[in-house]
Symmetry: C2
Subunit: 332 residues, 2 copies
């Protein structure tokens, strides 16, 4: 299996993608193509020992920044790492692609170059979040605003296949993010979506609320990309603030530092549970080939997790699963 | 000053409202009218000593549950505690009202009985949330779905007045909840709202994102009630789950229990920061008189905080402030 990694995207590129690629070819039985500026990547790679035949480089001299208009950038910058990788994926020169760069650029490359699965109206970003009941999928986490009910139904279908195949959840519970548990509660979009999700080929458990995100009530949390993005960033932000507060609490004085020693194991366990790096990247679900979006601030552990996730995505054939589920969807 | 307290609403009624009323008349220089079943309230009051002339009871034999259709219930159940209290408020038999009961019923009573401030299109729920930079206001936290830009502008105006008057924030920063910092980012609603908020008589700082909620970037976080309710409940739910995990962490074994003793002060300080009970209730902003919604699970401390908040709401004349700001709003 060959995974295409955008070596230029993200806050810690090229160091993090390169280090993760080296670890991946040693531990995961994959080959990696690093896409980006050849000279820069070669220089970074020279710091490591690894089985040389398992990492190749494809030159891509251009970069798309977070501030560029993504569709235009993808159309005009043919030499950008994300564009080169997407073309390779489409042409079968790799089995999955991963980028830590601009989300908009990756979305556009996924849509315009890799293409949608037949029948999928809008691909969506699925993000794995920690919860009291283990990892759960939030979809759409920001690819689409102003969605229609048909979009949300497809998000539920795609999310179910991912949770079933990759995270081995038997009959994943699909919840519709709303503001009240009863069927009649919500806004125009969720009210119209409710009956369609009941008829869809998923295990629909009804409306869920914000409090269910961290409780882990549903395996797949379905929502419009505006709502999903706000939820995702609220959870991330709260995680940061609480983590900082706890650290300050423990480092306050000698007394608290001694206390910290006694509870360190538990604190680390807790931090691990809340650490997005353990859960891999976000998924652009609905494209013809696996496209993974790593967090912009990914360090090499996070990139490594995302590569492992890309491998699982390919091995468990999520794309075929989505195609089959779409055929069973009688809601449209 | 006379505050009308619905003694029958909430998980801990009548115990919590009655205990809070007793504490309030002793400490806050207010009079309280307890509205509800007279016999039940009398029985509960008999457990306390207090200045008798400062607490009166108005009989209201009916109750509206969370499961009733609120508008219909408010129209038909004339003897419901929330309806009786709203009528008293309208008639000047009290300066503010507080209920821990059904949000929908309180909203309907506020709209149909107390009435809107002239010019306000839709009253909204403002909720005070903790953040790394102190308490901040989220508005709308669930009163209105499918809002228009004009609604969001008014939420920003009302929230500003509240933060300025009650929480003494000089020139409160108003942020528009969106999914990207730049002006062009967001959904149809936020894109249209952005320019109107720039022209409104508020200190508009532009778009904010989910991560800004806990960081406390804006003093007033403006959003549609669907988004706001999801954010509010996500934050509450995450607070619960993390609190539970930390407790388990500290209570795990003798070693961790010893550790807990060393950091207890800090943990309690942290818990206090995250405790919604310290921040009072939510506010129904846009009604002609102050209407406060206490959390359904309020204990007597939470009800007491909400009574103090109601007093501040009256004393700082938030309603006149809103009326004046509306006159300066040239965005419509």
């Amino acid at each position: 299996m060959k995974i295409l990694v955008d070596a230029m995207g993200g806050d810690h590129a090229p160091q993090a993608p390169v280090e993760a690629a080296v670890r991946a070819v040693k531990e995961l039985d994959v080959e990696i193509v690093l896409v980006g500026n050849t000279a820069v990547i070669k220089n970074e790679l020279s710091k490591y020992e690894y089985p040389q035949e398992k990492i190749t480089i494809t030159n891509a001299p251009e970069v798309i920044s977070n501030h560029e208009e993504p569709v235009k950038a993808v159309r005009t910058k043919k030499g950008a790492s994300v564009v080169v990788a997407a073309n390779m994926l489409r042409n079968g020169e790799g089995d999955a692609m991963l980028s830590m760069g601009s989300t908009g650029a990756l979305l556009s490359a996924g849509l315009l170059i890799v293409g949608r699965i037949k029948g999928i109206l809008r691909p969506a970003i699925g993000t794995v979040l920690p919860s009291a009941k283990g990892p759960k999928l939030l979809i759409d986490a920001g690819a689409n605003t102003n969605c229609k009910p048909e979009n949300l139904v497809q998000f539920g279908i795609m999310g179910s296949v991912y949770m079933k195949n990759v995270l081995r959840v038997d009959s994943p519970k699909v919840g519709l993010m709303s503001i009240g548990e009863e069927e009649g509660k919500g806004d125009e979009l969720t009210k119209k979506t409710f009956s369609k999700l009941k008829a869809a080929p998923v295990n629909f458990i009804g409306n869920i609320e914000g409090r269910d995100v961290m409780e882990g009530t549903a395996d797949v949390m379905v929502c419009d990309g505006f709502v999903g993005n706000v939820v995702l960033k609220t959870v991330e932000g709260m995680g940061h603030v609480i983590g900082r507060q706890l650290k300050n609490l423990f480092m306050k004085n000698l007394r608290t530092k001694i206390g910290a020693l006694f509870v360190m194991d538990g604190v680390n366990e807790f931090k691990k549970m809340m650490d997005y790096r353990e859960y891999g990247g976000a998924l652009l679900l609905g494209c013809k080939k696996p496209v993974i979006k790593g967090h912009g601030s990914s360090d090499s552990l996070a990139v490594f997790s995302a590569i492992r996730q890309a491998k699982m995505f390919v091995e468990t054939d999520v794309i075929s699963g989505i195609t089959k589920s779409l055929e069973n969807n009688i809601t449209e």
